[in-house]
Subunit: 389 residues, 2 copies
């Protein structure tokens, strides 16, 4: 409790959670007490979803049970199917997902209950549907339907299959699965917090997730990974002639970044409210970007990113965050730039839904105070006696 | 800044605002420095919208300018028109409004800008469209289209006209207009706060409003006015035989309320996080409920409400809040019970949009901390070695 306003609630503890924890000074992130470095590359996104939504890493039988629920939960309802083509023609990806998830509540069999069991079933369906919604939207804007999901592939593999239209290599699936695990939860980030504020009025899980989706859309949050890629592409475009010589690219990146910083522009993908050192997720994403640069034989984006990281650290002392190398990784995996933030939502859906369950399980309305800074003692006068300006 | 978690952010100052101010001890509410008692019944909802969105009570010319924008802004887009019938068939009112406003962003000419000018135009359109969306939804679920709006009536009059299908009496319009003014803003309430958390990622105004709509839906917030009416109707239904004798009703209400309190049920419409005395809006709504009870010749709901207020105060020391007498007022005005929360959204749209403009004008990401209360030092083991439970 405090008398002073805290701009942006920085350092204010807004909630208790058993889902994730950050040690910002040490650069450590934990999901339910597991260090992210112990989980990244070792568990699938489905196992991660079980850990967040159902308290523990699953046994084989528990994972099979969840997988069956996810398989059954993939089917889109009539309201979504009836609207998706028009939405794809008229709304940008995050606008569209906000609309589609709002429509999807209509046919959820548990829509009218906030009970723990109903929430758990809804949470699985929301995780199952999100990648399908992204793929369905992406295909619809090309006038098509996505290729059929393959029951033999998990969420990561099916997403790459449906978005790129080609069968992903096993190592691509592993890398993308690791990306989904790395983005799945992150304490009281803005979208999760918006979802909890919504759920704390005892509104329903879909409302909380829709609030979170609209919040993730912003360029200071989920929208940042797309901005990182656009910055890389802009720098390349300006200097298209030189892009074949690595040293020339590195000089060009250095000059472009210094110029942007001199103009006072914010470079997306750097710095974080909570981490005072390297974001542990960035460590993994840098490694994956480098591996994909090597395996695809296209080092351009990884080299540009490395150089940008060096220049920003030298000039501003800022570390890359989760969004920075995610951009190159998604690009190497063949994901269109304007679907990077939707990819974030595919993963964070696991965290959002788990936080909403946690909020409902021990609820109190989230209703802060505000500080009044406007005019005082105003006197009403009839409209025809009011002064102009 | 604090080391202790504050459950529900009670008494934590989350933002500065020049829009509204509450003196909870004295039971006073101000919009931009005007006491709500000076505004209620004296200004129209359109004037109130101008005050909140455009800094001041309008001159006649300014009001005419806003009215022209509102008139032009009423038109629904193709995406909304194409989906509203199916939505009305499959979604409840607040679910539907969440979906419809999300779809409406598609055709807003300012959708890609968060500039002050673009936000001001979007804010007017959102206020203009919200009552039309409610009316369009309500008509669609009856398989019809709403009666045409009358350009000679303002927002309050047209809403009553379109919802009830009959021309409202001038005094009914005045009363409903006053209701809209009373609900237009209320500092950092949960839905407004959700909208600001969303907008603070530099997401767009429609995303912020969609987050707010989902938040208002909850029974601890906007959903409460509908719950109040359902409680009144339940008590009446249980004792249908006695409803003609006022004294019998009063005894029945007393017994029913005491019984609910004894069972530990929360009675909606009483108590408030911020007010420690009577909510100043309740004072006006009680007066309007009494007037409508007299003018309609149906005193039942007003008498029941008065008695419920007495019993709850005697047993719990709680005062009625804005939702309590609003229920009777809306019922007397012929508004269906399941549209009470949508009516709240028609009014609060003025405040939500003004808060989002204020957030964008001096933005910082809203990203609080959390306290970790879960397991620690967990060690990953391969899936086939994990123990059951």
């Amino acid at each position: 409790m405090t008398d002073k306003p805290s701009r942006g609630l920085a350092d204010v503890i807004a909630a208790s959670t058993a889902l994730s924890d950050i040690d910002g000074k040490a650069g450590r992130l934990f999901y339910r007490g597991y260090d992210i470095h112990d989980l990244a590359g070792k568990i699938s996104f489905e196992e991660c979803t079980h850990l967040l939504q159902r308290d523990r890493l699953p046994t084989r039988a528990q994972l099979d049970g969840l997988a069956a629920e996810l398989e059954a939960g993939r089917r889109l309802g009539r309201l979504v199917e009836g609207a998706v083509d028009e939405i794809a023609a008229q709304q940008s990806p995050m606008e569209a997902l906000r609309s589609l998830v709002s429509l999807a509540s209509a046919e959820d069999p548990d829509k009218d209950s906030n009970s723990a069991d109903a929430n758990q079933r809804k949470a699985a369906r929301l995780v199952a549907q999100q990648p399908i919604l992204v793929a369905r939207y992406h295909a619809a804007r090309g006038g098509a339907r996505p290729v059929e999901a393959d029951p033999g592939l998990g969420i990561a593999g099916n997403f790459l299959l449906q978005i790129t239209g080609r069968r992903p290599a096993p190592r691509e699936i592993e890398i993308f699965d690791e990306c989904l695990v790395l983005h799945a939860d992150h304490t009281m980030n803005a979208s999760t917090f918006a979802g909890r504020v919504c759920a704390a009025t005892l509104s329903d899980m879909h409302s909380g997730v829709v609030a979170a989706l609209g919040t993730l859309k912003g360029s200071l949050h989920g929208g940042a990974n797309e901005q990182v890629m656009r910055t890389l592409l802009e720098i390349l475009e300006d200097r298209a002639a030189v892009q074949k010589d690595p040293r020339v690219i590195e000089d060009a990146v250095g000059a472009a970044v210094s110029e942007r910083l001199r103009r006072g522009e914010k470079l997306m993908g750097f710095g974080h409210r909570v981490y005072k050192t390297e974001d542990p997720r960035a460590t993994h994403l840098r490694r994956m970007a480098e591996e994909l640069a090597n395996s695809t034989g296209d080092e351009t984006y990884f080299r540009m990113s490395k150089r940008m990281e060096e220049v920003v650290f030298a000039e501003k002392g800022l570390y890359p965050n989760v969004d920075f190398y995610a951009a190159s990784v998604y690009h190497y995996l063949g994901i269109p730039t304007d679907l990077f933030t939707p990819v974030f939502s595919v993963s964070r859906m696991a965290g959002w839904t788990a936080h909403i369950m946690e909020q409902h399980a021990d609820n109190r309305l989230i209703r802060p105070d505000s500080e009044y800074i406007g005019e005082r003692d105003q006197k009403w006068v009839p409209i025809d006696e009011r002064e102009k300006e």
